[in-house]
């Protein structure tokens, strides 16, 4: 065995040992809770507004169902997310792993400058991923603004995938350092959230 090889082997052993120690130290413990009723959380708030069709405040943010008139800072404004009877159809290149489906929404009554982003999740509990949005400008500059969310899907999905889309409304401009995905919608630092009904997305075969 050459010196180089011996050094390499020693290095690898040291690295393995360090990795084992780090793995042993890593990992955070778990905690939980039990009760006779649900804990108020962002997930239960999203669940509530979808089922009740209204707006609810949770920890300083307003969550609204599609079509419900906002309260608070954005009072009188609303976002309508395209209602769908059928699942969204994911369009994409067959060889690609990902595809997208367009989901339109309109905004009305916003009297102050706002920015719009969109996020999607499979469940009310997240995680949420930011999705691309495309604004369709009206030639006359009036009427409701129509925006389309490019809802991402996976071409290898064999069954319809559940989906909830959220329109994130920011007063002014959104924060610069937004994460691409987050456990909760509030992690996007949003002022007002509109959520769609529970939808599904399918990939044509």
């Amino acid at each position: 065995m050459t010196t180089e090889l011996r050094r390499l082997r020693t290095g690898l052993m040291t690295a393995s040992l360090l990795a084992a120690i780090v793995a042993g130290l890593a990992g955070c413990g778990g905690s939980g809770s039990s009760g006779f009723d649900a804990v108020a959380s962002e997930a239960t708030t999203v669940q509530h507004v979808i089922d009740a069709g209204d707006c609810t405040d949770f920890e300083g943010q307003t969550f609204c169902a599609s079509g419900a008139e906002a309260t608070g800072t954005f009072e009188g404004a609303l976002v309508k997310i395209q209602p769908l009877e059928e699942p969204l159809v994911c369009e994409g290149v067959p060889i690609s792993e990902k595809c997208t489906a367009p989901l339109a929404f309109t905004t009305e009554g916003f009297s102050r400058p706002t920015s719009l982003l969109a996020a999607v999740s499979e469940t009310e509990a997240g995680p949420w991923k930011l999705a691309a949005v495309e604004v369709e400008e009206h030639a006359d500059g009036v009427g409701p603004q129509t925006v389309s969310i490019a809802v991402p899907g996976r071409t290898d999905a064999s069954e319809p995938t559940p989906l909830i889309a959220a329109v994130l409304v920011y007063e002014g401009t959104p924060p610069d350092d937004l994460p691409a995905s987050a456990a909760r919608l509030s992690d996007f630092g949003v002022d007002l959230v509109y959520v769609s009904q529970r939808l599904e997305i399918v990939v044509p075969r």
């Binding site: 413990g29 905690s31 939980g32 009723d37």
Partner: protein, 264 residues
């Protein structure tokens, strides 16, 4: 013989484990006669080990001597079990539940659920299903009931609290809501067991008093602010739990923090 329990033990468990873990393969009859010097009838000892009868205090004192342990903690277990039994009997009346009272065993489902949730990392990291099931197994007092482990795992999966894939499991949510009659009864018994133990430890066992925190905070509050108060209390408790949660090990305790707020 000082032992740390992995699961909440009833007085029946203490009698059973003293006989079985003595390593001398005592039958109930031999144990009653040779070790307990005929202080109890073997049939009655069998009932005590199965939780169908409570021992008297003299028998518990004798057990403490055999185990070479102080008597006060064992008596505290007996008092707690009697209180739980009485509470369980009244609870079933309140719930219009005709099933037989099993005392501390009634809380088992809720205890196993809490162990199962706490065994999963708060950050949603995947762990092996085998490791997780072993953690749930710690809370199964009767090791012959292996099906309890699968039952708890299935329940949490059905409620959307956990996600399983390719031999691994991770948490999706952290709060279990008791919905069925059995779950509500089990949770009520667990809450009562936690409170009763805390109270007895605090007032009857000076050496254990320091490891239990028991306080009543009181205030006048605007009725409409109650929801906000509870929400913030919940948030603070959760934040603390997540900050201090450690991997289970020889140096850790499974801490239960029972929070009650109610207008009187």
């Amino acid at each position: 013989m000082q032992r740390r329990s992995n699961a909440p033990k009833g007085i029946k468990d203490l009698f059973y484990e003293t006989r079985v873990l003595s390593g001398r393969e005592f039958t109930v009859t031999r144990f009653a006669k040779e070790v307990l010097s005929g202080a109890v009838d073997p049939v009655m000892l069998g009932y005590i080990e199965k939780g169908k009868r409570f021992p008297n205090e003299a028998l518990v004192r004798r057990l403490a001597t055999i185990r070479e342990e102080p008597v006060a903690p064992l008596l505290a277990v007996l008092y707690r079990d009697r209180m739980l039994y009485a509470f369980g009997r009244e609870l079933r009346r309140a719930l219009h539940d005709p099933a037989a009272v099993e005392g501390i065993a009634d809380a088992d489902l809720a205890v196993q659920v809490s162990r199962a949730i706490a065994a999963l990392p708060d950050d949603g990291e995947w762990i092996t299903t085998a490791k997780w099931r072993a953690q749930i197994g710690v809370a199964v007092r009767d090791k012959s009931k292996g099906s309890d482990v699968g039952r708890v795992a299935d329940l949490l999966k059905e409620r959307g609290l956990v996600e399983q894939a390719k031999g691994k499991v991770r948490r999706v949510s952290r709060h279990f809501v008791a919905t069925t009659l059995e779950e509500r009864r089990a949770l009520a018994m667990e809450f009562t067991a936690i409170y009763t133990k805390a109270l007895l430890d605090k007032i009857t066992l000076p050496e254990r008093a320091a490891e239990t925190h028991l306080r009543n905070h009181y205030l006048h509050i605007e009725r409409e602010k109650l929801p906000e108060f509870y929400q913030r209390l919940e948030k603070a408790a959760r934040s603390l739990a997540e900050e201090f949660a450690a991997d289970a090990g020889a140096s850790t305790e499974f801490l239960n923090v029972l929070i009650v707020g109610t207008p009187v």
